[in-house]
Structures are given as C-alpha cells and as structure tokens.
C-alpha cells in the first residue's frame, strides 16, 4: 500500500513530478554518457600502452632509476633462460600472452646523403612478438590492419617516427604528410658549407651493412645509426626504413627508431655477448598484473636473480596522470549531479508533505506510526529516483548507441592514429549499476528530511491543516 500511495501521490502534481524526474533523468544521462566516454578514453589509453609496452617489464635492478643513462651497463645476460623460466612457469603461463626481450638504445641517426643527423633513441624488439602484442584487444577497440612490416629474419629493416623521417629528409620517399620544404637557414659567421660526415663512418656503415639488403637492391631509404658499444668504441649500422610510425607525442616522434633486436644488440654489444634491457610481458587480462608481478618477484627471489619488475603504470606516468585527471572530473560532475538531484527531490517531497499535511494527520490518527509516515515519503523519493534513473539509463543507452554508430572520428590523448569516437557503456555494468543505484540512493536520502518533518508533525496540528 505504501508504494501504491507513493506512486499515485507523485502524479497528483504531474508537472512538478515530471520536472523532478526529468532532472534525475538528465543527471543520470550526464553521468553515464560522460562516464562511458571517460571509460572509453582510459581503456583506449590502456590498450595503446599495453600494446606498445606490455603490462610488466623485467629489468636488472637499478635500471628503472639509472639505466637510461647507460642502458648497456644494465643488460640482462642469459635472457633466453629467463624467458624460459617465465614462459614455463605454471602460474604465469596461462595468464601470459607475450613475453619478449627488448633492448633500449640511444645514439645518432644520420642520413649522410642528405647531410642530416639527429640524436635518436630506440628499441630493439622481436618483430613477430611486437606484431602479436599489437593485436591485444581485450576492450574491443579493433586491431591494426597492418603489422609493422618487419620480419624476425631480416635484421636490416626498421621503423622510425614520422618526425624523425621528416627531419632526416625522407618526406618524399616515405610519403610523409605535412612536410613543406625546410626554410633555408643562414649560418652566422661562416660561409662554409656544412661539414660532411667523416668518411670512415660511411665506410664502417657500408662494411656492416647486411649482405641480403645490399644484394636485394632494396629501394627503401636507409639511415645510419651511430652508437657507442659497451666498451666505449663507436659502432655504426645501416637501417632500411620499412615505414614510418606515428608515436603520438612529438618529442618521441622526432627521435624514435624501432629495429630488430639483433640489430640493436649488434650496434650496442658488437661481437660481444648479446644482452637485453628488459623482458616485456603482455598478459591476457590487465587485472592479473599485480598477481603476475608478485609471482615474478617470488621466482626471482627463489633463483637469487638480480632483477626487478615494473608495471605499465610506473613506466608511463602519463597514463596515471590522465586516469587521475579524468576520474577527478567524473567525480566532480557526479557530485554536482548528486547535489542537484538532492535539492530537487527534497523540494518536491517537501511540497508534497506541505500539501498532504491533513492526510498525514488522518493516517496518524488511524494508527500509522511515525515510522510509517517516514517510510511513506521515503518511498516517494525512492520512486522519483527509480523512474528518473531508469529513464536516464535507457536514454543514455540510446545516445551512446547513436554516437557509436555515427562514424565520428577523433584523436584520443596519447594516440597517434584517429580512431572512431565511441563510448563504452554497454560493457560497463559497474558504471551503469553504480550510477543507477547511486542516484536512486541520493533521491531516497533527499526525501529523508521532509519525511522526518512529516513524521514529527503533531497529529492535531496536522488534522487542523487546510
């Protein structure tokens, strides 16, 4: 009977109740649409991060803090055995998608035919593993149609950032967009032409050039990569540019070189024992990251290995910052929506109490306890919330469906390629349920103050009310 009276009572003043329900509906839609947009951004960012660098990376101890200055000094020897240990561990194996070695490297990239060079930093990786990592798509964003175009057997080919390609003068041959002719720079105090690269470097590059590449008459542009070996001697290799790959951040885009792991090892270790900077682990599910990390720490401790494990959030502070930023905006909006709903429902139920004071007196006279009156008006607040939030969920679903099928494109933060604008609502049951229950709870709690006031009314005063 409480709900029958509550339901019918909220439609005694239809316009007022519909306004209140509309407010709750709009609040629910705002929270869900923005929430699903935020979730989409964060999951997209996570997908991009995990595709590029996996969930976990195993380093030599100290590399994370000091290794960038001298990657070679922190190399992991005997990494094949380490890979075997990880891949064959019965706890990790079922959770593991890819475990692959990587080598960080830094040096100078030069297109000596064009008299241009640029400091680079890069990564040596196993191309097939990297292609497999790029297929990680737990959140159904779609996978890249093309791989990197590299093969494990061909050491000579690699990829560079679009910016680096532009700087090194490969606009035409690599079909780089937004690539106007560079302005002519007058050099002050000297009319001499820029110095040519030392001939010994070119000879060195020619000598180390893989035989297959020279024989095949490969028409791809080439760059020479100069780096210092572990022993401190200069070393140089030639890299054919298979393609450019946008990196999303200009500083990275202007400096990135990706190459076959073996080439990077050749450049850094020469004829010495090859090592790697780290072992990247990509898991099937992000939720397993903490568990697998604990297992790795346990295994390394058991085998007395001088290794440490870092997760993708530690390695990408940007990811954590964006997550915190978007989450704080979502929380801020949710709080504002909650306050608006609170005031609106309080006002509506308060008006209802004022209009039905005589009815309150009558039911109290008939024997309804104060608690019964309180529940009566709480039920009205709850019903306003139920109708408003349910309508809001349905409307938000319709909006999200429309947007997801509209074909709009956009460039998410930290991504290099435009992607379809989508909102992730339908798979986010927790977001929907939390919003639905949360705003319904706010509406119910909002009714508490007027309900309590109604419950405390003296019966004779209430009956006297006209």
């Amino acid at each position: 009977m409480i709900f029958k009276i509550a339901f019918r009572s909220i439609f005694r003043n239809t316009r007022r109740s519909l306004m209140t329900i509309s407010t709750v509906t709009v609040g629910t839609v705002a929270a869900l649409v923005f929430g699903s947009y935020v979730v989409y951004i964060l999951l997209g960012l996570q997908t991009g991060t995990v595709r590029g660098g996996g969930h976990l990376t195993v380093y030599r101890k100290g590399y994370f803090l000091y290794g960038a200055g001298n990657p070679a000094a922190y190399g992991i020897e005997g990494y094949d055995a380490l890979l075997k240990l990880i891949r064959e561990d019965p706890v990790i194996a079922p959770r593991l998608a890819v475990a692959t070695p990587v080598q960080a490297i830094a040096g100078i990239a030069g297109n000596f035919a064009n008299d241009t060079s640029k400091p680079f930093f890069g990564t040596g990786f196993v191309p097939s593993d990297r292609d497999q990592m790029r297929q990680w798509d737990v959140y159904k964003f779609g996978t890249p149609k093309e791989g990197l175009g590299l093969s494990d057997a061909d050491l000579s080919r690699g990829v560079i950032g679009i910016g680096l390609g532009r700087i090194l003068g490969f606009c035409e041959v690599l079909k780089i967009q937004d690539c106007p002719p560079p302005p002519v720079i007058q050099r002050q105090g000297s009319a001499r032409p820029p110095a040519k690269a030392p001939e010994f470097l070119a000879d060195l590059a020619q000598r180390d050039r893989p035989k297959g590449a020279a024989a095949s008459g490969n028409a791809e542009p080439r760059i020479d990569l100069l780096a210092a070996t572990v022993g401190g001697a200069p070393n140089i290799v030639t890299l054919s540019i298979a393609k450019t790959a946008a990196q999303g951040i200009k500083e990275v885009d202007d400096s990135y070189v990706g190459m076959n792991l073996k080439l990077a090892q050749q450049l850094l270790y020469g004829r010495g024992v090859p090592k790697v900077t780290g072992i990247v682990l990509q898991l099937h599910r992000t939720e397993d990251t903490g568990f697998v990390r604990q297992r790795l720490v346990f295994l390394f401790g058991e085998d007395h290995l001088d290794l440490e494990v870092r997760d993708f959030e530690e390695l990408n502070p940007y990811f954590v910052q964006v997550t915190a930023f978007m989450s704080s905006i979502l929380l801020f909006i949710a709080v504002i929506i909650g306050i608006v709903v609170l005031f609106t429902v309080t006002n509506t139920v308060g008006m209802s109490v004022a209009e039905r004071t005589a009815e309150i007196g009558t039911t109290r006279a008939m024997g309804l306890r104060r608690r019964g009156i309180r529940w009566q008006f709480l039920a009205e607040g709850w019903l306003l919330g139920l109708i408003g939030t349910t309508a809001g969920v349905l409307l938000a679903a319709a909006i999200v469906f429309t947007v997801n099928h509209s074909g709009l494109m956009w460039l998410p933060p930290g991504q290099a390629q435009p992607t379809p604008l989508r909102m992730d609502l339908f798979t986010r049951k927790a977001l929907v349920v939390a919003t639905w229950l949360g705003l319904m709870a706010v509406a119910t709690v909002s009714a508490y103050w007027p309900a309590n006031r109604a419950a405390k009314l003296p019966i004779v005063d209430a009956l006297r009310h006209v």
Binding site: M1, K4, T362, M366, R369, P458, V460
Partner: protein, 257 residues
C-alpha cells in the same frame, strides 16, 4: 434524566451515574477524570479544557455539544488519544493511556479507535475500497481477510457498487459513508465523529445520521460525536454539553433541550 454539573471537578455522583446507565467500573468504555488542557501561545497560556470529567457507556451514541471554541474538538482529540491532557486522567477500558508511548498509542488507536472527520479526510489517491481497507493493513491482516471485511462494510453502508471510485468521484454524502465504513471496518471499541454532518446538506446529513445510528446498533459500537446539529442531537443516548472548557450539562437519553 438530567445531571447538572456546576463545578468542573470530575465525575457525577455514583447514584446519578448509575441512574444514567454508567457503572463506575467496566461499563464505561471511556472515562475522563479532571482533565485539563492548556495551550501555550507564546508566553500566554490558553485553557481549552478546565477539569472535565465524565464516563461514556459502552455501545452508546453519545454527543458532545457546545458552541464554537467551547473545547469539543480538544476533548475529542484527547479521547481519541491524538492529544494528551495537561493534567487529569483518561482511561479507555480501564487502562490509563497516559502511560503509553507514542508507538503504543498509535497501535492503540489502530486497534480501538475509529475516526470520522468533518471534511471526510479520505486519502484522495485511493479508491473507496482501498480507503476502507487501509486501517486493516495497520492491523496486519491478510489480503483475503481485508478484502472480505472491506467489501462487507462497504455493502453495509450501501457503497459496494462504488468501491472502485476515488474520493473525487463521490458526492459528499458518499464520501462520509466511506469514512464511516473506514472507521468501522476494524470493529473498534469506539468511534469518534467530529461534526460529521457539518459539510453535508440536510438530506445527506439526515441519511448519515441514520446510517451512524443503524451501524451503532447493528455493530454494537460506541459512537462519540461532537456536533451542534440539532437533527443529530435527537439520536443521542447521552449528551454532554461543554462551555468554556467545562462540562456544564449531561443529559442521559433523548435530546437535550
């Protein structure tokens, strides 16, 4: 027989009470002893009842009459346990209700007291049937039991055919019939009716009076009615006249002159 009360000091003498059919113990369903009610308006105390005392016989139709502002409604509120006296005692079935908590008083009213209001006070969003069924919910009765009792009493007041109508679809007389059915459906110890014919035309008023009388006899229930409707007073078995918060006259049987 007429009993004059020149003081406001309590019950009538025993012989008179006996003569009036009011035995001092169990025969009274309601007994008031030296009831005082004072309202505070700011710093001013306004007396509404000033030492009222009498008993109301079980299964009687008693009238409380008096001019406006005499304290009739205050007295009815106290008898109905809607308000508490400033001093004095109210006993219902020999039980001092002053000792009851707010929840216990609510339960007490739910079981023992039926109300009929001048303005009908039906719940507008409920049908006639639902309005009548409502008091039974508070008694925790099962749906089938509630339905049967509500239909029976609606039939008794002649509204079985209109049971699905909302109050705004009923005439004043029909509304008051629903209110009477609502008051009686739980078979209370007594029914309090505050000016039940005041908002009705004479024809409907007479019909309502006749119905109340009929139901009172049929169901053997005590009716305590406040009124200044002469037509209603003719049905009184006992009449208590109040003036300036004091009981000034008690007539047992027939109309007071």
């Amino acid at each position: 027989m007429r009993h004059e009360f020149t003081t406001a000091a309590g019950l009538p003498p025993e012989p008179d009470a006996a003569a009036a059919g009011l035995s001092p113990g169990g025969a009274c369903v309601v007994r008031l002893t030296d009831v005082v009610k004072t309202y505070k308006v700011g710093s001013v105390s306004v007396p509404a009842l000033n030492g009222v005392g009498f008993g109301i016989a079980r299964n009687s139709l008693s009238m409380i009459v008096g001019p406006s502002g005499s304290g009739k409604t205050t007295l009815l509120n106290i008898i109905g346990c809607l308000d508490t006296p400033t001093s004095g005692k109210l006993e219902v079935n020999g039980e001092d209700v002053a000792t009851l908590t707010d929840n216990a008083l609510s339960d007490f009213r739910a079981r023992n007291v039926g109300f009929i209001f001048q303005n009908f006070n039906l719940i507008p969003v409920l049908s006639a049937f639902e309005n009548v069924e409502y008091p039974l919910l508070m008694l925790g009765q099962k749906a089938a039991q509630r339905r049967s009792a509500a239909l029976e009493i609606l039939d008794a007041v002649g509204l079985a055919d209109l049971r699905d109508r909302r109050p705004n679809e009923l005439s004043g007389g029909q509304k008051q019939r629903v209110a009477i059915a609502r008051a009686l459906v739980k078979k209370p110890q007594f029914v309090l009716a505050d000016e039940p014919t005041a908002n009705l035309d004479s024809q409907n008023g007479a019909a309502i009076v006749a119905l109340m009388r009929q139901m009172q006899v049929q169901l053997q229930t005590t009716f305590i009615v406040s009124t200044h409707d002469p037509q209603l007073m003719t049905h009184a078995e006992e009449t208590f006249r109040i003036r300036d918060g004091k009981l000034v006259n008690h007539v047992s049987g027939g109309a007071e002159s």
